[in-house]
């Protein structure tokens, strides 16, 4: 157990909590970081830097589309935060070459054209490419791809490097991550009591960077935060020649396709996995493996001779299409920091905002739309 009294307790050691902790440490706050070591979404993340509206969300959660659309400026700002973090961490293979959303029919092209118009109004750098233009930048695509939307703000990075570099940097600043589960938060006269496996600590403020786990911890304080886990499937191939610069998605099908600097190709994009909290680790589903990999081979026939090397599953967190950032109603010392949806993209900016709140610093953007009070 660290000091029994700290300025700020950060609950959760994923990318959001790590980013918050780095900012707090830089401001010389005395902090404690707790991480249960299990199922953090960041540990399973595939490294997409999302900006454009993901067709997956529009299709699966149409009610949330207006919220996602309203958040587009936050996504833009989040990529800038990542570029700073990449520098701060000494390079985590961040590349911002843009993202392609592919169309295989005129109807899909029409959908992308409309989407691009909406996104352009929100300040995104987007373009519609026909097949010939696409050929110039992604000659490896299958013949049936008729065009794509290019969003130049999108990119990719290596999440394993980023997580590890952030932990190392924190450690070198003297902050050890306490490997324990936080069970409850409780207001006490001069702070917040954080109860953990490793004992309790009292903090001036607590930051809840606990993704879907925020629901239970907030409920303990009588606050409703309707976040839930979404188990997702991912695949990675052995290395091949580096040909894919872009993050690749599809106008109608769930897929993300990208190549790491190692030459390995990561295939993901929202195929379901299985999660039973009693088992503790999300498990891979056969149908997702077959479907997801088959779709990748269909879109990029050139990768078909590469061998699939590993699959894994992780937990994404969904809310209402918007991040949840701010003091909990009734317990303002506890600050929610739940990026939601594209959690890894949004994690650093959300973590930084939560750190600024705890430190009483000025914010870089208006937090009102993201207040946890919206669920009360």
């Amino acid at each position: 157990m660290p000091d029994e009294r700290v300025d700020i307790a950060v609950v959760g050691g994923g990318i959001t909590g790590l980013a918050a902790a780095l900012h707090l440490t830089e401001a010389h706050a005395r902090i404690a970081v707790f991480d249960a070591g299990l199922n953090a979404g960041s540990n399973a993340n595939a490294g997409s830097l999302h900006v454009q509206l993901q067709s997956r969300f529009l299709r699966l959660y149409p009610d949330e589309a207006p919220n996602v659309e309203a958040s587009l400026p936050l996504y833009l700002a989040a990529t800038r935060t990542w570029i700073e973090l990449d520098r701060w961490l000494g390079g985590v293979e961040l590349a911002q070459k843009g993202g392609l959303m592919l169309a295989e029919s005129d109807a899909q092209m029409a959908f992308l054209e409309k989407k691009a118009e909406r996104e352009s109004r929100k300040g995104l750098d987007v373009d519609i490419l026909n097949r010939a233009e696409l050929e110039e930048i992604a000659p490896w695509l299958g013949d049936h791809v008729v065009g794509a939307e290019l969003c130049r703000d999108e990119g990719k990075l290596n999440p394993l490097l980023a997580n590890e570099a952030a932990r190392k940097l924190l450690k070198s600043s003297g902050v050890a991550i306490v490997p324990s589960q936080v069970h409850a938060l409780e207001p006490v006269p001069d702070g917040i009591r954080v109860s953990t496996d490793a004992g309790d600590c009292i903090a001036e403020h607590a930051i809840l960077a606990t993704s879907w786990g925020t629901r239970a911890l907030a409920a303990g304080l009588g606050v409703r935060i309707p976040v839930s886990w979404e188990p997702l499937h991912m695949n990675i191939t052995e290395p091949g020649d580096y040909i894919m610069e872009h993050l690749v998605q599809h106008a109608e099908q769930p897929i993300t396709l990208k190549q790491f600097q190692s030459g390995q190709i990561v295939i993901g994009g929202g195929w379901a996995a299985k999660f039973d909290p009693a088992v503790g680790t999300p498990e891979v589903l056969k149908a997702s493996l077959l479907g997801n990999v088959a779709l990748a081979a269909h879109l990029a026939p050139g990768i078909a001779h590469l061998r699939l090397m590993r699959t894994w599953a992780g937990l994404n967190t969904t809310a209402d299409g918007k991040s949840i950032i701010g003091p909990l109603p009734g317990t303002p010392r506890v600050i929610a920091a739940v990026p939601g949806d594209a959690g890894y993209t949004l994690g650093p900016i959300v973590g930084q905002a939560a750190a600024n709140l705890a430190l009483g610093n000025e914010q870089q953007f208006d937090l009102m739309p993201y207040t946890p009070a919206r669920f009360s």
């Binding site: 070591g37 540990n43 490896w140 394993l160 997580n163 590890e164 932990r167 050890a176 306490v178 490997p179 324990s180 191939t237 052995e238 290395p239 091949g240 020649d241 580096y242 040909i243 030459g263 680790t281 891979v284 056969k286 493996l289 077959l290 479907g291 990999v293 088959a294 990748a296 081979a297 269909h298 026939p301 050139g302 990768i303 078909a304 001779h305 590469l306 061998r307 699939l308 090397m309 590993r310 699959t311 894994w312």
Partner: protein, 553 residues
């Protein structure tokens, strides 16, 4: 084997005997580095049995072909594989995937699998057997490749067993590589570019074991291989791993292979056995003779032949380092053996069960500390804790080929009874024979008992994960983080993330971390089981998906 084949390696024409694997052919030509590995290093064949993925070459423009599992053919253009091979348009995917629904599927064509298949088929069940090799028989009976004669009794026994299985009515699909196991059970495999999906009523897993190295600096160098890999070169392809050889390890296989290579014409410069000499353990030696006088006598005569052949055999001696030296590899021991310069360094420091299918299907295991391996929990009839899934032989924990044969008979009979709705009626002598084989095996282990490699003694620069080039020094910090689990060390260092799927580092790390954290080892201490069991071409996954869509419709 008078035929020769001509093929090209990196543009140079080679003319070699027909029937060889690519690995054997290249070894014959004195070529040991097959692919460009991490950081520009060269890698070559290590396991010789399709597990380690180190012998990848590019064949006719297709990268990622295992030289040890690929047959040489006239006109092939073989190239050293680059670290990041070009993404070429894929070869035509077979539009005709194979979907099979036998009563019983047996996975693995070794001692256990062949006898299980034969027994089940004789009882009237419809049996399909899948084997990854072109010639079945498994690692113990290791059969000669087509065109080579049987070498000795061990091979002719294996040939008889294989023949018996083929006569029984069981169908055998060779060269079938399994990559997926899912609930059902449903097994996914690929065979010469074709997707194979099997949905049996009952599954018998007989996937055997693979060899365990000693982690020493230089174990990743081309020319360093498992003792079994050297044995396959010789017994299946009449190829010597090199003119000058040294053999290191623990257990009788090393002595046997050293003697075989010597008789084949290799200059065996050193044999180093980790255990003390058998005669210093008279109690165990007597027990071993009592359990099987013939096998014990064979062992002793092997040792005598080595001595007579002038091969230095050192006991209580282990390999401590391998380096490249002028014209070969310098292997250094920790003691009496000193150092030798050879062309091939062979080592076998025990085995690990190939239990990937069983772990994926959720079978229960316990950890056996003395041998450092997971033991699959089974009923007397060899049924695992997953209903309808049987397991026999070394994949359940090492028991040796004779025991695997008897287990195969018991499981084959029980599985047939299950699918035919009958009472299992196996030969009552089977249980007795199984007890005798196990008594022999246990005495054999007492004779060869030696301390396993202590993690603390591994040099910092040693690769623990050869696929990703992760050294012990890289792992030290992350594995000592408070409360860290094996998956956390994997993510922090990339240990176990490579093509071999953690087969050589998982058990080492599981044990080390449990000891360091004061826990006992269990199944969850290992990397989580995940498909694919072995890397699988994306084209095959695509074909499987299309086949299942059609089959389920």
């Amino acid at each position: 084997m008078t035929d020769t084949v001509k093929f090209h390696f990196d543009g140079e024409e080679l003319s070699l005997p027909a029937g060889l694997s690519l690995a054997a052919a290249l070894t014959t030509a004195g070529i040991r580095g097959f692919r460009e590995g991490p950081n520009g290093a060269t890698r070559g064949m290590f396991c010789g049995m399709g597990v380690c993925q180190e012998c990848l070459v590019e064949v006719d423009g297709n990268p990622n072909q295992r030289a040890c599992m690929t047959k040489v053919a006239s006109g092939l253009s073989v190239r050293t594989q680059s670290a990041r091979p070009a993404l070429v348009a894929s070869p035509q995917i077979s539009s005709n995937p194979l979907v099979e629904k036998p009563d019983i599927l047996v996975v693995g064509g070794g001692a256990g699998g062949l006898s299980a298949a034969a027994e089940a088929a004789r009882h009237g069940a419809q049996v399909l057997l899948l084997d990854e090799r072109a010639t079945s028989g498994g690692q113990f009976y290791k059969q000669p490749a087509a065109g080579f004669a049987l070498l000795d009794k061990q091979q002719s026994d294996g040939a008889a067993l294989l023949d018996d299985a083929l006569q029984s009515g069981a169908r055998l699909l060779d060269e079938t590589e399994i990559w997926g196991a899912f609930a059902g059970p449903e097994i996914h495999a690929t065979r010469r570019g074709q997707a194979v999906i099997v949905r049996p009523r009952v599954l018998i897993v007989a996937t055997g074991a693979y060899e365990q190295p000693r982690l020493v600096p230089g174990w990743e160098l081309p020319g360093v291989m498992t003792t079994g890999a050297a044995q396959t070169l010789w017994r299946s392809y009449r190829t010597l791993p090199g003119g000058r050889v040294a053999v290191f390890g623990n257990g009788p296989l090393n002595l046997q292979v050293a003697d075989e290579l010597r008789s084949g014409g290799a200059e065996v410069l050193l044999v180093a056995e980790a255990a003390p000499a058998p005669w210093t353990r008279p109690g165990a030696a007597v027990a071993m003779s009592a359990a099987s006088p013939g096998l014990a006598r064979d062992g002793l005569s092997t040792l005598m032949r080595l001595r007579r052949g002038g091969v230095p055999v050192h006991f209580k001696t282990v390999l401590s380092r391998v380096e490249t030296a002028d014209g070969g590899l310098r292997a250094t021991t920790d003691g009496a053996g000193g150092e030798v310069v050879v062309d091939a360094v062979c080592m076998n420091y025990g085995f690990q069960p190939q239990n990937e299918i069983l772990r994926l299907l959720g079978a229960d295991f316990i950890y056996e500390e003395r041998r450092g391996q997971l033991i699959c929990q089974r009923s007397d009839e060899c049924e695992t804790t997953v209903g309808g899934v049987f397991a026999v032989g070394d994949c359940c924990g090492m028991g040796g080929a004779p025991a695997a044969r008897v287990e195969g008979q018991i499981a084959g009979c029980a599985a047939a009874a299950k699918v035919l709705g009958q009472q299992a009626m196996y030969n009552r002598g089977a249980n007795l024979r199984l007890r005798q084989h196990r008594a022999f095996q246990s005495a054999l282990w007492r004779v060869f008992e030696a301390d396993s490699q202590d993690y603390a003694d591994i040099a910092q620069e040693t690769l623990v994960c050869r696929c990703e080039s992760v050294t012990k020094g890289d792992i030290d910090g992350p594995s000592q983080e408070p409360g860290v689990e094996i998956g956390g060390v994997k993510r922090a260092t990339r240990v176990g993330m490579g093509r071999c799927q953690g087969r050589y580092c998982s058990h080492v790390l599981a044990k080390h971390m449990a000891l360091a954290q004061g826990r006992s080892v269990d199944e969850r201490a290992y990397f989580a089981p995940r498909v694919p069991i072995k890397p699988v071409p994306i084209a095959s996954v695509l074909a499987a998906q299309e086949a299942l869509e059609a089959d389920d419709a």
